[in-house]
């Protein structure tokens, strides 16, 4: 049975390889009853769980019931078929990033950041940009060779584009935290349109980030990279610099080098 090691096919692991054991919880909008439990069990079967067991069912008022269900997942996944779109870069530390910028640009890298439209969450973009950083990882403001302009939250896309032009930014960092009704997708699309309208398609490196942002989503929306939870300044800066080099090559001081 257990040949998954060779073929690299995996199933959920409870306490024995390939037992397929999973747990889940959900609510059905029905009163607590034996029928409700049976409904939950059949639902689990339809979800692809063999031998489902409703191990807990609790009434949540007269109209709703909470279920905890165990079962054995019928499905399996071949790890060899998995590919994930991830930003391509090697994580450098702060000193190496500073050195790379000094070496390749011969001036400071200009990074503009904002949390856009109606979204008022600043902590994420601050974690990346403010000197203090996050979890012991210093932010971009503290990088010698970075000029970090953090515009905070609720920044209108059109205003942001004007600032990007005025600051002659190399990199734009955009944060989106609220995702209800896909508002982040709407906002990121709008910004992308504004950027395109302003002709900022080519040079500017544009990165999106936030707890529900994936690289794949960001690419789909026309961004160069997407960063999710647990990202730090050095990740973004490493990506941005390596992307800059991919586009411009090592051309010390010549790439718009007339700037101070």
């Amino acid at each position: 049975m257990s040949n998954s090691a060779k073929t690299n096919i995996v199933r959920p692991y409870g306490d024995t390889l390939d037992d397929g054991r999973v747990q889940m919880s959900f609510t059905l909008p029905v009163p607590h009853s034996e029928e409700a439990k049976e409904a939950a069990r059949q639902l689990a079967l339809k979800m692809g769980l063999d031998d489902p067991a409703v191990v807990h069912a609790a009434p949540m008022g007269p109209d709703f019931t909470l279920f905890v269900v165990y079962g054995q997942c019928r499905h399996s996944i071949d790890m060899d078929t998995i590919t994930v779109d991830q930003p391509e870069f090697e994580v450098l530390d702060k000193a190496a990033i500073d050195a790379l910028i000094a070496d390749s640009l011969g001036r400071k890298l200009v990074v503009v950041g904002a949390c856009i439209e109606t979204d008022a969450h600043t902590v994420g973009i601050d974690a990346i940009m403010n000197a203090k950083g996050f979890n012991g990882h210093k932010g971009l403001e503290s990088y010698h060779e970075v000029r970090a302009v953090n515009l905070g939250a609720q920044v209108d896309s059109a205003d942001l584009v004007r600032r990007v032009i005025a600051e002659r930014a190399d990199v734009l960092l955009v944060s989106q935290v609220v995702t209800q009704k896909d508002i982040h997708v709407v906002n990121l699309r709008r910004l992308r349109q504004e950027l395109d309208r302003a002709g900022l398609g080519q040079d500017l490196i544009v990165v999106a980030g936030g707890p529900r942002i994936t690289h794949e989503l960001a690419r789909e929306l026309g961004y160069d990279a997407g960063f999710g939870p647990g990202s730090y300044a050095e990740d973004v800066a490493s990506f941005a610099m390596q992307e800059w080099l991919r586009r411009h090559g090592h051309q010390r001081g010549r790439q718009r080098g007339e700037r101070p």
């Binding site: 919880s25 959900f26 609510t27 609790a58 949540m60 008022g61 007269p62 109209d63 709703f64 909470l66 109606t118 979204d119 008022a120 600043t122 902590v123 601050d126 609720q154 609220v178 209800q180 009704k181 508002i183 707890p211 939870p229």
Partner: protein, 519 residues
């Protein structure tokens, strides 16, 4: 469980906060705002919108501003015109909006004053009737033990909110808060009617208040309990939403003297004027306010910035007192937000919570759950919430906003609330009298930490007193966010009071001790 605290420090800190608040208040009372005047008209009974969905209170106040009359306040021109044209409140509002009547300063000022007073008295009578209804209902309802279980609904659709709120009440919630839609705080008008579309919350409208109030009364009657209703006063419409809350018998309102300035970039001068009026209305309506100090700990570090919470609470307390609010209505906020990775973090949470309890013995403190360090690991999150509940139980908090294990992922599902309530009930019951049985080691870690935070808060308040509150906010002393006096949204809605400015509500709503003051 008692901390040994230096009472003279508490007294000195409180006295400094009182002087800080009075300085700002005196300045604020030389001006009024569009929102205060709109609230006045709403209390008179003006409601509804024009063909473009602009609320009539906005139309009338904009008209007064265009006529250069706003400095006199809305009450006199409006009441005078009612007399002159023989129209009722709504008819006059519509006539002004349609451009059929131009408001002027009344010729007979004493008569207009008397009319405005009469309108205000009618409003006050309605609010007092609401207070009486609440008291009656509380009397016949089962006694609610503290901490009260405070739950949030936030679907964006008032009818879905009602379904969720009913379920939460049936599961044991004592208080239901309807979270507002993203961005409402920056609207300089209050949306109208029942609403079904909001982002991250549901619009605060008078009709939505009424619908939810009716639903909670109904489910409360079924359950033999009184379910308290909460909404938000914060934002550009603080005074108006306070008026709506008073008229529709809300029981609690988020109302912080500085939150709008710091977290919504609303102009500072505007906020200090608006918060005075809105808290006066809250106090008169017997509405418990919830202050927002918990928010500081999301942008600043909860351990390092603990003293800013205490300093801000003392300032909020003094502003509330200037609005005629008794300590029993001051739901000062604080939170369990220390990084779970910090060694002995639980001790510091205990120290902070007990400190606040002792500094404000009569306040129905509002204790907020961990949010910032909640993650996609819902299992750990449930443990974090249990530890939060333990501190709430041990330190005798009054209003416990229940943590949701899915905090980092989405606004609560129905089952998240259920599990949150189950968690809280378990902890509160199993630890019911633990706080009374324990004593804090004299001179030990917890006590030393509390003393340190108190001393830092006192020092901070003395520093703020020296430079003034606006300058302190300008330096980013709260939440690491700096705001300037003439920056932010809504400054255009601030008007200097003209000679003879009149508003009938302070003399009816403020206790006598304050009435003679600058208001």
């Amino acid at each position: 469980m008692k901390l040994a605290l230096d009472q003279s420090r508490i007294d000195a800190a409180r006295a400094a906060a009182a002087r800080i608040a009075r300085a700002v208040h005196a300045e604020a009372m030389t001006r009024t705002t569009v929102a205060v005047e709109r609230a006045t008209l709403r209390l008179f009974g003006l409601d509804g919108v024009d063909v473009d969905y602009v609320p009539l209170p906005n139309r009338v106040v904009d008209h007064l501003a265009a006529e250069g009359l706003l400095g006199h306040g809305a009450a006199l021109p409006f009441a005078g015109a009612m007399l002159e044209h023989g129209l009722d409140v709504q008819a006059l509002g519509e006539a002004v909006a349609q451009g059929r009547i131009t408001l002027t300063l009344p010729r007979d000022i004493p008569a207009a004053r008397a009319k405005a007073r009469a309108l205000a008295q009618t409003a006050c009578a309605r609010i007092r009737a609401n207070v009486a209804t609440r008291e009656d209902k509380l009397e016949s309802a089962a006694l609610q033990r503290t901490p009260w279980l405070y739950l949030i609904v936030a679907t964006g659709n008032i009818y879905e909110d009602i379904t969720q709120a009913r379920a939460a009440a049936q599961q044991g919630a004592d208080v239901i808060a309807v979270i507002r839609s993203t961005g409402q705080s920056l609207l300089d008008y209050v949306p109208y009617g029942a609403t079904t579309e909001g982002f991250g919350g549901t619009y605060a409208t008078q009709e939505n208040f009424r619908l939810m109030r009716a639903a909670l009364d109904e489910v409360g009657d079924e359950l033999g309990r009184y379910i308290r209703l909460t909404n938000y006063c914060s934002g550009l419409c603080m005074p108006e939403i306070a008026a709506m809350g008073a008229l529709e018998r809300l029981d609690m309102m988020l109302n912080d003297a500085m939150y709008g300035i710091i977290f919504r970039d609303i102009n500072l001068q505007r906020t200090f004027i608006d918060q005075f009026f809105s808290r006066m209305v809250n106090a008169y309506a017997g509405i418990i306010i919830n202050t927002g100090e918990d928010n500081y700990l999301t942008t600043a570090d909860a351990y390092e910035a603990a003293h800013t919470v205490l300093a801000s609470q003392l300032i909020n307390e003094q502003f509330a007192a200037l609005s005629g609010m008794a300590p029993e209505l001051m739901g000062l906020g604080h939170a369990f937000e220390i990084n779970p990775a910090l060694e002995n973090g639980f001790l510091w949470e205990l120290a902070h919570a007990q400190l606040v309890r002792q500094v404000f013995p009569d306040a129905p403190l509002k204790y907020m759950p961990p949010t910032k360090y909640m993650t996609g690991n819902i299992f750990k999150g449930h443990v974090q919430d249990a530890l939060f509940n333990a501190v709430g139980a041990m330190t005798g908090q009054h209003i416990q906003l229940l943590g949701m294990m899915t905090e980092a992922i989405h606004t609560p599902f129905l089952q998240d609330r259920f599990l949150g309530i189950e968690n809280a009930r378990y902890v509160f019951d199993t630890m019911r009298d633990l706080g009374e049985e324990l004593s804090i080691t004299p001179g030990g870690r917890i006590e030393r930490r509390a003393q340190e935070v108190l001393a830092q808060a006192q020092a901070m308040l003395e520093e703020i007193e020296a430079i003034g509150l606006p300058a302190a906010i300008g330096r980013g002393q709260f939440a690491d966010i700096a705001r300037q006096s003439d920056g932010g949204k809504g400054l255009a809605g601030v008007v200097t009071r003209a000679e003879g400015y009149f508003n009938p509500f302070p003399e009816l709503m403020l206790p006598e001790s304050l009435e003679g003051g600058p208001a």
